[in-house]
């Protein structure tokens, strides 16, 4: 049972379509889905003006087209699956509770902000603030997984308090800023000020990185949880090497301007 939504044409203005979740659509007849309101710029229009709707409503929604201007897809969803064949816009899976979102292309800013559970997979790259807290809030993502195969930009995992973010490529500045708990794994190069203001939590940086002076070098060791995590990520298709599985890791504690209970791990190669 798959519902298919195809973008009629790439929109010229942002479209807000927070109604596209399996929770909302799985019970509705096609005719009603077509009438659901979405915002096209500042105008409210029926969903059918932006998408053609076909297939059968159920647990899976298949979206097709360049949706880099379509925001809030899968926001607050709790179950089912969304497959996006193309790019996705900002606020993808915002405050998501469960279910799965898979994007074949790139995603915009704010992937899974304040996410509580479920999994978001981005085959391409993601914008700024993946898995972060919205502005003003202290707590970002608290559970679930965000798997980005490409690169991510600034402030991934801002205020994160649980769950897992894995970034296959490089990431921007301030990864894990103000983290409270949870895990961020970065396979590519990390930008500056990684982990600034973190209270607790773990950041794993696979490439050499510049550590803030408010982080103190602790030791070199083999964390027993890490191979388990990395094997899980390898199964999800991330570029985990055998060397990373067997390496020993250098550990820094920080951030001393906050609680100083966080850690940055980096393989000593």
């Amino acid at each position: 049972m798959t519902l298919r939504l195809e973008l009629r044409a790439a929109p010229e203005v942002p479209v807000e379509a927070d109604c596209i979740t399996p929770d909302r659509l799985r019970q509705l007849p096609i005719a009603e889905i077509e009438r659901l309101p979405v915002f096209y710029g500042n105008r409210q229009v029926p969903l059918a003006e932006v998408f053609t709707v076909s297939g059968a409503p159920g647990e899976t929604i298949q979206l097709r087209g360049d949706m880099s201007r379509v925001k809030h897809i899968g926001a607050t969803m709790s179950c089912g699956q969304i497959h996006i064949d193309g790019h996705a816009g900002a606020h993808l899976g915002a405050e998501m509770l469960g279910g799965t979102i898979v994007v074949s292309g790139n995603a915009g800013d704010w992937v899974g902000p304040e996410m509580r559970g479920g999994r978001i997979v981005i085959r391409g790259s993601a914008g700024h603030l993946a898995g972060s807290a919205y502005r003003g809030a202290a707590v970002g993502m608290t559970g679930g997984e965000i798997i980005i195969h490409g690169a991510a930009r600034n402030e991934a995992g801002h205020g994160m308090r649980g769950g897992l973010i894995a970034i296959g490529g490089s990431c921007g500045d301030f990864a894990g800023v103000n983290m409270l708990a949870g895990t961020v794994t970065i396979f590519g190069a990390a930008g500056i000020r990684t982990g600034a203001g973190m209270k607790r939590g773990t950041i794993i940086a696979m490439q050499p990185l510049e550590v803030l002076p408010t982080f103190a070098y602790a030791c070199e060791y083999r964390p027993s949880f890490l191979p388990l995590y990395l094997l899980h990520l390898r199964r999800l298709g991330l570029p985990v090497t055998d060397g990373q599985l067997s390496a020993s890791y250098r550990r820094w504690c920080g951030d001393a301007v906050e609680l100083n209970r966080g850690e940055i791990l980096s393989p000593s190669i």
């Binding site: 919205y134 502005r135 003003g136 809030a137 202290a138």
Partner: protein, 549 residues
């Protein structure tokens, strides 16, 4: 031109005119209550409904620089509570500190038609007037902070009492304020100069000017009573929130003697115990004093569980609280006039102090012998939002509901109060007093808080629902200055309320005394300081009282 109206069959509560739930017919013409209207344009059948004057909030924080800082500090709060526009009204955002438009509309949807912003620095008056102009429906005014003003304290130090009087009048005129507000009088300036310094006793002379809070309070009480301000000095006493502060509060009230004084959010000033230790309740001592002294009015500043925002000119207090909360806060510069501290806060049922504060507020309400002088407020948004008034009304009117709520809070705190023994239930008429007639009388607003001929036609009509929280959350009709604003629960018009202010006379020569001080110490030009009349838009000058001798 507003249309004429007639309201029939309603159960009218108009305590100022000794009408307690009797069927009366009301007429409205030209924005005022009239004795009769021959052929009204519209007749409302209010059968089964309760008719009251529009609500009057005597103490809230709804406009000005500090309110705006609190808005900017909490985007996460606005996100959860959008306030959509309608055909007639504008959009905004809600939360604990709503945007200006949402503030006006949300007051109206509770049946409130007047609200007084309780603390504005003189330098923030211009900004405040602009925001109040954008706060729709309600009539409004503000109290100007003068209790920590450097220039005024210098005049008092030098014993220049007559110039002090002129300067206070000049400041009120220059800002278009409604009365003088004192916040932690004498304490902010030492704190601004040195960390953790403050005054804690009413007779302690501060080390900046060598004058005591008592001297400042006495001087303002004298000026306001002699000049006949319709509302006396509005005071936030020293030692807010500290254990044992009820002694300071009693001393403050005694300083006024038999002259009029309004004590703001008195719940925060009714704590027994020793400084630095856990507080207890001193509601009995405070309520007894207020009950026995008809010159004193107060508002309660009830704490309601849930989100709040501390915003105060009592900067030392905000600094102390930020050490407890350990989250974001703001301490803003107010030049030579006051202090300012803002931090998001929340009151929790299980926390001893919060539960005690909640219980003390209710004790004060229930121990009040004269509802005209113990007025309903939450010190919005310090004790909780004004949007929680309906729940507070239910707590006062419904003993069973109150007992049920008591079960949910910290037992140890409740055990240190007399709340479980207080069986009183407020009547609808008493609610009409503490939310309407009382505050209007305390403010000296002769045309508000009642429904006699000549009064402003600010009227709310509620369904007489047994669940008082539900009833007071959603009036069926709200009429402001004779205009139908909410018709059958829906907004049907927008309206710009009036600015209420006073204009005491002063000797123009005082300007020459203030000017050099300004030019030496302020960041803005003196000539740009006084707010011109063009900022007033629609306004009303409330006349001074005849001298009491």
């Amino acid at each position: 031109m507003s249309s004429t109206l007639c309201i029939v069959n309603g159960s009218v509560h108009d305590p100022a005119n000794r009408i307690a739930g009797e069927p009366r017919t009301l007429f409205v013409r030209d924005g005022r209550i009239a004795d009769a209207v021959a052929e009204p344009d519209r007749t409302i059948d209010a059968r089964g409904m309760v008719v009251m004057p529009g609500g009057v909030d005597i103490h809230c924080h709804i406009a000005g620089p500090k309110v705006n800082l609190a808005r900017k500090l909490q985007p996460e709060d606005h996100r959860r509570d959008p306030h959509p526009g309608t055909r007639f009204t504008r959009s905004g955002s809600g939360g604990i500190v709503p945007s200006t438009f949402a503030t006006g509309y949300r007051y109206a949807t509770l049946g409130y038609t007047t609200a007084m912003e309780a603390a504005v620095t003189p330098i923030g008056a211009r900004h405040t007037l602009e925001e109040l102009h954008d706060t729709p429906i309600i009539d409004k005014g503000f109290y100007v902070l003068l209790g920590n003003n450097i220039f005024l304290q210098q005049l008092l130090r030098d014993g220049r009492r007559s110039e002090f009087r002129q300067a206070v009048a000049w400041w009120i005129n220059s800002t278009k304020a409604y009365t003088a507000k004192l916040v932690n009088p004498g304490g902010d300036e030492p704190w601004k100069g040195r960390r953790n310094s403050n005054v804690s006793d009413l007779d302690e002379k501060n080390d900046v000017f060598g004058i005591s809070p008592r001297q400042i309070i006495d001087a303002f009480v004298e000026v306001a009573n002699d000049a006949g301000f319709p509302h006396p000095p509005h005071i936030h006493c020293n030692n807010l929130g500290h254990s044992g502060n009820f002694r300071t509060t009693l001393e403050t009230m005694k300083t006024a003697g038999d002259r009029r004084l309004h004590v703001a959010h008195i719940q925060f000033h009714s704590y027994a115990g020793e400084p630095g230790k856990n507080p207890g309740s001193a509601a009995r001592e405070i309520a007894d004093y207020v009950n026995a002294h008809p010159n004193i009015t107060c508002d309660v500043g009830q704490v309601m569980f849930g989100k709040s925002t501390i915003m105060t000119a009592d900067a030392p207090l905000a600094y102390m609280l930020r050490g407890i909360k350990k989250a974001k806060w703001i301490n803003a510069d107010t030049e030579c006039e006051s202090g300012c501290g803002i931090l998001p806060f929340s009151y929790q049922e299980k926390v001893y102090v919060h539960a005690l504060q909640w219980a003390i507020g209710l004790e004060l309400f229930l121990m009040s012998a004269d509802p005209w002088r113990i007025i309903l407020s939450t010190d919005h948004p310090n004790g909780g939002s004004f949007q929680s008034y309906p729940k507070l009304i239910r707590l006062l009117m419904d003993r069973d509901f109150r007992k049920q709520e008591m079960q949910r809070v910290n037992r140890r705190a409740i055990a240190r109060t007399t709340l479980p023994d207080l069986d009183r239930e407020y009547s609808l008429n008493e609610i009409a007093i503490i939310t309407r007639a009382g505050p209007a009388r305390a403010l000296g607003l002769r045309n508000k808080g009642h429904l006699g001929a000549g009064a402003d036609a600010d009227i709310t009509i509620y369904d007489d629902h047994p669940d008082r929280e539900r009833m007071f959350s959603a009036p069926r009709y709200v009429i402001k200055s004779g205009h139908m604003i909410i018709d059958n629960h829906e907004f049907c018009a927008d309206f710009s309320g009036r600015m209420l202010h006073i204009a005491p006379e002063y000797d123009a020569s005082i300007v020459d005394a203030v000017r050099p001080f300004f030019e030496n110490y302020y960041s803005i030009e003196f000539d740009n300081y006084a707010v011109p009349d063009s900022y007033l838009h629609d306004h009303e000058v409330i006349p001074l009282r005849p001298a009491t001798g």
